[in-house]
């Protein structure tokens, strides 16, 4: 019994890490622009496909590339290109709408998401792609728990990225600029902060982290299809809201909570088909009783 529990905790941590990585992107963009970037789930999907492309290319080289090299290569390649994609989307689709009503930006984000999904579908066809295994699969047995190197890698790499991001936001000048913009948008440009550049960088960082999530997700659940970003994206979005949307540490916490909800719903309830129901009901209840999420600051309204 305890073994099953431990095993499920590990699975939940693995899945939660991926959710947390994607939720960070929602939280960062919301924090700085107060805009829900509904295209983020699809940016994650593109990241997963880009890392697949890089991995297939590196594995197909005439000489036998060592697996860690392939992994790091795919990670860096997809993080870089996905960051570029995020910046491009922001530049072309969101920046012209800075002064427009906020819902226009949200509709645009929905449109961008649909575009990315269907463009990938039209380019690559509907058949799912299989992700090659890059990490040795033989499990370790520790206290009766089965632990694969992949699980360890996912949990540790995600944690490392989150720590780095937290440091970036709390300790660097760029992070200070981001926090300043989310604190008071109109005043910040007067202090000499290049707002547009900071927003671009926010999108770059958020998208790169989503790309890392895409690679890790592809390794753990090795079937990719163009619509994978929808469900994962929504779940990560709930994670961001549960933690208090716009709050970075809240998004991390929310990601792990959602991972636990998804893994433990089939354990406690008869069928896994209830997981959406459980997750969204929890979300609804949370929002009714604590409208700003777990770590969100309460909203004050100036009259």
């Amino acid at each position: 019994m305890l073994q099953v529990l431990g095993q499920n905790v590990l699975n939940a941590l693995q899945l939660g890490s991926v959710y947390a990585l994607i939720a960070l992107g929602y939280a960062m963009v919301y924090g700085i622009l107060t805009m829900i970037n509904f295209a983020h789930g699809d940016i994650f999907m593109v990241g997963a496909y880009l890392s697949l492309a890089a991995a297939v290319f590196l594995l197909g080289l005439p000489f036998k590339a060592p697996l860690p090299f392939v992994f790091v290569g795919a990670l860096l390649f997809s993080m870089f290109l996905t960051a570029l994609l995020g910046v491009t989307v922001e530049r072309l689709a969101y920046r012209p709408l800075r002064q427009a009503p906020r819902v226009s930006a949200v509709i645009t984000a929905l449109g961008v998401g649909l575009f990315l999904e269907n463009f990938t579908l039209a380019m690559l066809g509907p058949q799912p792609r299989h992700f090659p295994g890059l990490i040795p699969m033989q499990p370790w047995n520790i206290f009766g728990l089965t632990l694969t190197p992949l699980q360890v890698l996912i949990i540790l790499l995600a944690a490392l990225l989150m720590v780095l991001l937290d440091l970036l936001i709390r300790r660097t000048l760029l992070g200070m600029a981001m926090r300043a913009i989310s604190y008071n948008r109109p005043i910040v440009p007067l202090m000499g902060v290049p707002v547009d550049r900071v927003i671009s960088l926010t999108f770059a960082v958020g998208s790169a982290i989503a790309a890392a999530g895409g690679l890790l997700y592809g390794l753990a659940y090795p079937v990719l299809d163009p619509y994978m970003g929808i469900r994962i994206g929504w779940w990560a979005f709930i994670a961001a809201v549960v933690g208090g949307i716009g709050n970075i540490r809240g998004a991390m916490l929310g990601g792990y909570i959602l991972g636990f909800v998804e893994i433990f719903t089939p354990v406690l309830l008869p069928a896994s088909t209830y997981r959406d129901f459980v997750a969204f009901s929890l979300l609804l209840l949370l929002l009714v009783f604590k409208p700003t999420g777990l770590l969100g600051r309460p909203m004050f309204e100036r009259v």
């Binding site: 427009a100 088909t273 609804l284 929002l287």
Partner: protein, 321 residues
């Protein structure tokens, strides 16, 4: 002024009668082929959906992303009635009542969203509606008695062009009267500034409640029409994508405009049909057009403007408050 009034009234009633007559004659006589009639019915259903959603998103200024949930409730409720309850011989005559029942069921679930709207607003209310949509879909997927994820079928094809036309006209009429009544002014006051509305004795809770219920009602009716046109429904047809379609129609046509709603629904439906030859690329071009429209016309085609036709003119002495 007084001389204009009756003329306009005759014109209105004349065009309504003509429209209804045409909607009956054209398909019956075979002048329009069944494919075109089908598209017209979709246009009509989408018009009802758009008008209903515009009430909440356009006039009240909240952001509902979950109206497909209401549509699902209306569709399933009316289908259950026609398949299991009403004997087939009566189903044609009972159809309006069935649709109303579907709408009422949808309105009842509207309470789930209306109550949180008292406390949460803006993005968080949008998320509540989103969660509502997902919950409805998930519940339907887990109800084996309704076919679960495989869907529900066996409804007779009761939806016809005259019915759709009649419901569009009814929805339009009621929405117009609502929007230009005291209630409508309350709605717009909430959109502009909820706190100020409250201070100027607008009963914001009551108005929000009614707005959600009425909007959910008509969305449910449209769901019933949709179910009895397609004769097959499954939970996936009421996913968040359906809600997205509705949002696109509202914001394409323009928020807070009845004319915009009608235009948005028409253009969206026809455009998707016209792009059909593109195959898979249809869904690439469509969203791209949407993004471009939002960039160049962020308030939609008719944003906050109205065709004169829909604005009631009150003669001297008949000024209502």
């Amino acid at each position: 002024m007084a001389a204009v009034m009756p003329q306009r009234r005759y014109l209105t009633w004349g065009s309504i009668t003509l429209l209804l007559a045409l909607s009956w004659v054209l398909p019956e006589s075979g002048l329009l082929n069944p494919y075109v009639v089908q598209i017209l019915m979709y246009v009509g259903i989408n018009m009802i959906l758009t008008l209903a959603l515009n009430l909440v998103n356009g006039y009240m200024g909240e952001f509902s992303v979950g109206h497909a949930g209401f549509m699902a409730v209306g569709a399933y409720m009316s289908s259950i009635l026609t398949v299991w309850v009403i004997p087939p011989a009566l189903s044609f005559w009972a159809f309006p009542a069935v649709l109303v029942a579907g709408g009422l069921a949808a309105a009842a679930t509207g309470l789930v969203v209306a109550f949180p709207s008292f406390r949460t607003r803006g993005d968080y209310l949008a998320i509540v509606t989103l969660a509502f949509n997902m919950i409805v879909k998930s519940v339907l997927e887990n109800l084996e008695i309704l076919g679960g994820p495989r869907g529900f079928l066996g409804m007779p094809r009761l939806t016809s062009l005259p019915w759709v036309t009649a419901w569009v006209l009814l929805t339009l009429y009621l929405c117009r009267n609502l929007v230009y009544s005291n209630f409508g002014r309350g709605l717009m006051a909430i959109r502009e500034d909820e706190v100020a509305a409250n201070l100027t004795s607008v009963d914001t809770r009551k108005i929000k409640m009614y707005a959600f219920l009425i909007s959910a009602f008509f969305t449910g009716v449209a769901g019933g029409l949709f179910a009895h046109l397609l004769q097959f429904i499954n939970p996936r047809s009421f996913s968040i994508l359906k809600s997205t379609d509705m949002l696109v129609m509202v914001y394409l046509g323009g928020i807070g405009s009845l004319t915009g709603s009608l235009l948005g629904a028409t253009i969206f439906t026809l455009l998707l049909e016209l792009l059909r030859p593109l195959g898979l690329w249809r869904w690439v071009v469509g969203p791209l057009l949407l993004v471009l429209l939002m960039i160049f016309r962020p308030r939609g085609i008719m944003g906050l403007k109205e065709s004169k036709w829909f604005i009631p003119r009150f003669g001297a002495g008949s000024r209502r408050s």
